[in-house]
Amino acid sequence: MINLPSLFSRSAPDRPGVWRAGPRRNLWLFCQLTISLVLLVAGCACQPSSSPDGDSNAAQTIENKGSDTLVNLALRWAEVYMEEHPDVRLSVTGGGSGTGIAAMINGTVDIANASRAMKQEEIEAAEANGITPVEFTVARDAIVVVVYEWNPVAQLTLQQISDIYTGKITNWSEVGGEDRPIVLLSRESNSGTHVYFLENVIRLGDKESDLLFSPDTLLMPSSEGISAEVRQNPNAIGYDGLGYVTPDQKMIAVAADADSDYVLPSIDTVNAGTYPISRPLYMYTAGEPTGQVKAYMDWILDEGQASVAELGFVPLK
């Protein structure tokens, strides 16, 4: 247990006879100091050396880089694929959609992951480099707005959701519910879902908009944090990837605007393109894929789809 005097006590004065004062003592002190410094420096300097580039005599390495939204899915695919095909090596890195596409244009990666379509200027830059990018839709990402199971509110427009999350609407009665305050839940600001929700729901896809989440928004460190609160709090509203939503939360039907139909999120409505808060996730190859890359892309579009739902995304079929 905590022993008070020893916590703050100054060291007791040296007992006479233990250490003779004089040059020899100082020399030893100096030696000990030097040794401890050397130990320290050695500890700092021993950083792990960067892993060597893939074995040159092993089979072809497929380089795969890009979107942080897709990186976990891409990693899962790579793991499963390498287990089934030990002769293929896959290297997956994140860094963002733009980074991945730029690397593909420069020819340093075989496959670029992107959570958005390539921009016109990127396609032109690729063509100037003699590359025709080929687009594959590999999965879809749908964000579901969830509320307490017995909340009477069943449908909202994107504008209403935006107003709720910016703090313009603060009571459920303003959107047809009970007279209760609204408690806003969100993932932490570094999650890809957070950024997508901000850009496409709160800002309604308007690039000029500078709307932000209300400062009252509760930022939860995990999907589980959101579902735990939504499950037991009648005031709560949250959002998450379709694959993460458990049955004890109520999904809200969303309409793009007041004149459109309200659509409940499901794998069918997402793939039909009617559910408004969803986006395709892409992989781009430099030209029509051949050889190992083609085999891998074919596998992703077919057997690889089995892994998609496990990571909270929407499979293509």
Partner: protein, 298 residues
């Protein structure tokens, strides 16, 4: 003769080893501090002070207002101490002064076991049980509030406060109690007017140590305070969500790009936190030294 020289040599070697290890420890602490400075100080050049002390923390869009975080930490910590101080001191007084010896034998180890509960366990307990309880009984919009965090922190700081305060009461000489009782004071009067004031500086230290434990706590706080970076300036702020400095660093560290402004900002928060904890520990040490000079009392 030979044997004696050999054992002296061994003794010398062991002393040298211990000294070396001691110096290394100091060196490591210094290096950690230097690292903190190296990574955090650039923030104060990269971000204008007006932004740094604004009221909005939203690093994805270069808003680095640390005020809500500092105030959030202070709000949660101070509330925790306000809860833990009376409970802790009262428990210490009971254990030391009032409890029969068999009860004391049972209570002391039990209190020490409390300190060993991992904070993530307490956080999970807080998230699933305390938060709904707070929401239902107080009728607040959500149970994930600064108050819920303060409750858990108070629970975590209690073992420290009780043990240290009990040690302080223990250090009060028996003659003080005898003198009080001999003057015709009741036991309650003796405890409240003589023993507790005599142990005051030890109790202050207990609170300071509890405060240090509370302000640095991360996991449980992150799980139950809701992490909304709002300015706690209204009266009801204690029953609204808050975001602490520790939770911010823990939540954002994993995804931040090394060397970015955001990365420096998190280390900057680390520096602020370090300074706060340092000031608290310094205050605690100062009260101890003051106590020494006065011969162990007052």
């Amino acid at each position: 003769m030979k044997k004696k020289r050999f054992s002296r040599w061994i003794e010398f070697l062991i002393e040298a080893l211990i000294r070396t290890l001691g110096f290394s420890t100091i060196g490591f602490v210094l290096l950690i501090f230097l690292f903190l400075l190296r990574e955090g100080v650039p923030l104060f050049f990269e971000v204008p002070l007006g932004n740094l002390f604004s009221t909005r923390w939203y690093p994805t869009f270069d808003l680095f207002g640390t005020l809500p975080l500092i105030l959030g930490s202070l709000l949660v910590t101070v509330t925790a101490i306000a809860i833990a101080l009376p409970l802790g001191v009262a428990t210490a007084v009971f254990v030391r002064e009032a409890a029969p010896s068999w009860a004391r034998e049972v209570l002391k180890p039990m209190i020490e076991v409390l300190a060993g509960i991992p904070s993530v366990v307490l956080g999970f307990f807080g998230m699933t049980l305390v938060a709904p309880f707070v929401r239902e009984t107080l009728g607040v919009p959500t149970g994930l509030t600064a108050f819920t965090g303060a409750l858990l922190l108070a629970y975590m700081a209690l073992p420290t406060i009780i043990s240290v305060a009990e040690d302080a009461l223990d250090a009060v000489p028996k003659s003080y109690r005898d003198a009080g009782l001999a003057m015709g004071a009741t036991q309650w009067q003796t405890i409240w007017r003589v023993v507790v004031p005599a142990a005051r500086s030890g109790i202050v230290t207990a609170v300071m140590l509890g405060l240090g434990r509370a302000i640095g706590e991360t996991m449980a706080v992150m799980m139950v305070t809701g992490n909304a970076a709002r300015m706690p300036v209204t009266l009801d702020s204690i029953f609204r969500p808050a975001r602490t400095m520790t939770a911010t660093v823990a939540a954002e560290m994993g995804e931040v790009a090394q060397g970015s402004v955001h990365y420096h900002a998190l280390f900057g928060i680390g520096i602020i936190l370090f300074l706060l904890t340092f000031a608290i520990n310094l205050a605690a040490a100062a009260t101890i030294f003051k106590k020494r000079r006065r011969g162990g009392l007052r």
